[in-house]
Symmetry: C2
Subunit: 204 residues, 2 copies
């Protein structure tokens, strides 16, 4: 079988991405060979090198394929009516961790980002995407915190930047530890409680 139709080609490309996603999230990026990816996708390595330059390119395509919850959260914040910034923050944070638990693809991506790859240098595209996404998200929620402060909904001692970094770290840490051993605690249930406690602590 050679020279399939164009749709066939896109299908094999998708199969390759699916295979890579599964293998990377299970065995780690560096511990997965192109051979394994090809086998899992039912093709040979030749197919991979036709669609992607190398493993890094494969990973970049993998990451670009999915809209991370972090990105979605940003969109919704941008278009959201800011009737209640504090509730907005709570809701988005909870949806953030909820998507990690519910959506298998998001969970795989998060697992790769948090546990299955090595951040080897500063120009690593995985790390760059992770950090830039984080920073932008933090900036956005920081504005919500600021408007909450303006409305007097938070304690006067609260600094927006510190508050958002704490909140983001809490969510990150919850996901990190849950992915480490998902049976250890229920992410959404415990996470929602913890987020409530944290936000509650900011309101004096």
């Amino acid at each position: 079988m050679v020279r399939r139709t164009k749709e066939d080609a896109m299908e094999t490309r998708a199969k390759l991405l699916d295979a890579a996603e599964a293998l990377f999230s299970e065995n780690g990026v560096t511990h997965t060979s192109m051979m394994q990816v090809a086998e899992k996708a039912g093709v040979t390595r030749g197919a991979i090198y036709h669609h992607f330059e190398n493993k890094m390119d494969l990973i970049e395509s993998l990451m670009g394929r999915v809209k991370l919850p972090i990105d979605e959260m940003r969109e919704q914040i941008a278009e959201g009516s800011e009737f209640d910034p504090l509730e907005e923050i709570k809701g988005r944070s909870k949806e953030f961790i909820s998507r990690v638990q519910e959506d298998p693809q998001v969970r795989s991506l998060a697992s790769i980002l948090l546990h299955k790859c090595e951040y080897i240098d500063e120009v690593n595209p995985i790390k760059l995407r992770h950090v830039s996404g984080r920073n932008e998200c933090i900036c956005d929620i920081e504005k919500l915190f600021e408007s909450a402060i303006e409305r007097g909904e938070l304690a006067t001692t609260v600094d927006a930047r510190i508050a958002v970094i704490g909140l983001f770290s809490l969510a990150d840490g919850l996901i990190y530890n849950w992915l480490l051993a998902p049976d250890y605690f229920p992410l959404v249930e415990y996470g929602n409680q913890a987020i409530d406690s944290y936000i509650n602590g900011l309101t004096r």
Copy 2:
């Protein structure tokens, strides 16, 4: 130079561990070869394979050499006078993140654990150490939360287990994100604030 004295041997062993620690935390575990470790230590690969079975054994020795802040925290909790469990919890949490920022060796180890290795399977000794240390630590602090609840220092709705997992995740997330880009925010300053907010939120 061959057949050095016994103290010399222990010194080269320590140099190997130092070299591995530096290289692993900078370039990642799988992206560091035994050759590089040997070169940095000023010996050949033969020296490594004399002192350690393989890379995994090297890593295990590396981890076993340092008392992680998580372990130290446990000790101090065990012997600590429980005059005020809540303050105890706060103090230990803050010292936890403080040691990551101040102690270079602890920072290197934390960096390896959080960013520079892949958790490839369940029997991975790095992961096992990480998870078991976490679970034991959580169990200990959970008891402190329980005694705080008994004394009526926390809101009646607060569950000790959820509280401790949230606190631990917060600390973990702070360290994780700080190590990702240390210039982005000051760990101890922001971390202490965030921890205070969280604990504050538990006290109704």
